[in-house]
């Protein structure tokens, strides 16, 4: 199975191609901005390195969020554009699951809980807890630091993501133990491709949409904008 995977959901940009069960091309760069410019050249580079044409792909995998709203849309617009153009399915995977996948090896040894957390600013994180075997223990949510730390429930915890250092002291203060996962704590397309390879695609299902977790920052005016015609 040939998979093209990419991620632009947070402060990184990455792309990978999996063929014959292994990653044959991979790029990852730290990137705060400019995903819209850099993503497609990166995708072209991994496809060329893998020696594949777009119509040789069996599926496209993309992170759906949570993350920066703009980053999610860049990745999803590209993935859904490739999907209609090459007539192949897109599979959306959450960024939190992509992050957590890097911590299960570490968690398995001690049966620890994994909490994937992305700094969402405003004193909040996007977070989700997982059992050491990979099963989700909570739903992805935007939480206060205290509420996210409470996901640990006093258990031995492995933290992964940019929110890890925000939560670790709170978990420790509550009497739990918290270890931080390895690596930059940002989603990686190589991990994403591996998750996508294991997942079933349901035919006829709508393409994935962004998982924002926050409503648009817009307030309705105090008085209705339209009073006429009466």
């Amino acid at each position: 199975m040939n998979i093209l995977a990419f991620d632009t959901a947070t402060a990184a940009c990455s792309a990978a191609v999996m063929a014959g069960g292994r990653i044959v091309a991979h790029r990852f760069e730290l990137r705060e901005a400019g995903h819209a410019e850099h993503l497609m050249p990166m995708v072209e580079a991994v496809m060329e390195e893998a020696g594949l044409g777009y119509r040789d792909l069996d599926r496209i995998a993309v992170t759906v969020g949570p993350g920066t709203f703009t980053g999610l849309r860049i990745g999803l617009a590209a993935a859904r554009g490739l999907a209609i153009a090459a007539d192949i399915p897109v599979l959306g995977v959450s960024t939190l699951e992509t992050l957590a996948a890097t911590a299960f090896d570490m968690a398995m040894k001690s049966g620890a809980t994994v909490i994937a957390a992305i700094d969402a600013r405003r004193g909040e994180v996007y977070a989700q807890a997982f059992e050491a075997d990979g099963n989700p223990a909570s739903s992805p949510a935007v939480l206060s630091l205290a509420d996210a730390a409470a996901l640990a429930a006093g258990k031995d915890t492995v933290l992964v993501g940019t929110g890890a250092t925000l939560l670790a002291p709170l978990i420790e203060a509550a009497g739990g133990t918290a270890r931080c996962g390895e690596g930059p704590g940002l989603p990686d397309a190589g991990v994403l491709a591996e998750i996508a390879a294991r997942r079933a695609i349901v035919p006829g299902v709508a393409p994935p949409a962004p998982l924002y977790l926050r409503a648009p920052d817009a307030r309705l005016p105090a008085t209705a904008p339209q009073r006429w015609p009466r």
């Binding site: 819209a36 072209e44 849309r73 617009a77 209609i84 153009a85 924002y212 005016p221």
Partner: protein, 346 residues
Amino acid sequence: MPVLGIETSCDETAAAVVGEDRRVRSNLVLSQLVDHAPYGGVVPEIAARRHVDQIDSLVLKALSEAGLGFGDLDAVAATAGPGLIGGVMVGLMTAKAIAVVHRKPLIAVNHLEAHALTVRLTDDVPFPYLLLLVSGGHCQLLVVSGVGRYRRLGTTVDDALGEAFDKTAKLLGLGYPGGPAVEKAAAEGDPRRFSLPRPMLGRPGCDFSFSGLKTAVRTTVEALGEPTWQDVADLCAAFQAAAGDVVADRVVRAAADARQQHPDLRHLVVAGGVAANAFLRQRLEAVAETGGLTLVAPPPRLCTDNAAMVAWAGIERLRAGLLDDIAVAPRARWPLDADAAAGAKA
């Protein structure tokens, strides 16, 4: 030689296929009006969310209505700015993806250029022509002397004309979008009952200003207390008349300015969303006739935001060999004339 056009720079999600023979093979526009109307204006984040949900299926529909597949296209064109950047990115990324899969040229279209060239899709208008570009975000006078060749003669120093219509509508409780609502109310009003200022009238140059007019509308509304429908209609008529006078005055000056460099100037073109206003078209018709110019205005559905104009700009740029790299960046600000003053409104 069909080209696919994609437009997502404001609150319309649009896809279209246009042929080099100027045949509009499909032209689909999904308006987000109902999503934004409760807020009294476009909410950028809501707009971007709608675009990413809808553009892929809309592109497929545009192709299917055109009776074409991706492989039949000669290029993929998308608005790359100026506009609400979150939405622009969605359309541009979609276009990039299609372009790489089918190895088609990508054309990153300036939204203003798409408005500027629409008239060449609908009418036989040669270069050069004088262009009045009036929309919710823009109000400028330009000489269009070729594809990619624009000289700005004047622009607004504060609000765009469409913005002035929207703000007037808001002050009067006419809802959003304001342009059509103000025009409709004005048709029932007496333009002479209220006296409103004509900013910039008679001043040298071709710049516009509408904030003083807007302020005068506000003061008048406040003095009225609880306006009746007739008050609203009369005020709309007065506003529209004042705006029309200002635009007419500026256009006359711009025509004189443009003629110095282009004695062969024959056409006045009006484009952009406000060009759909029938009152304004009448005023411009008269101004053009007096100045020995022919007014050409594309039909309203091609003046408001659409993707056929983007596809057409793509065709014009493709012919001129003006293609873009897959790494091209979306741009929130992107003046048409390269030497536009820094800080001036695009």
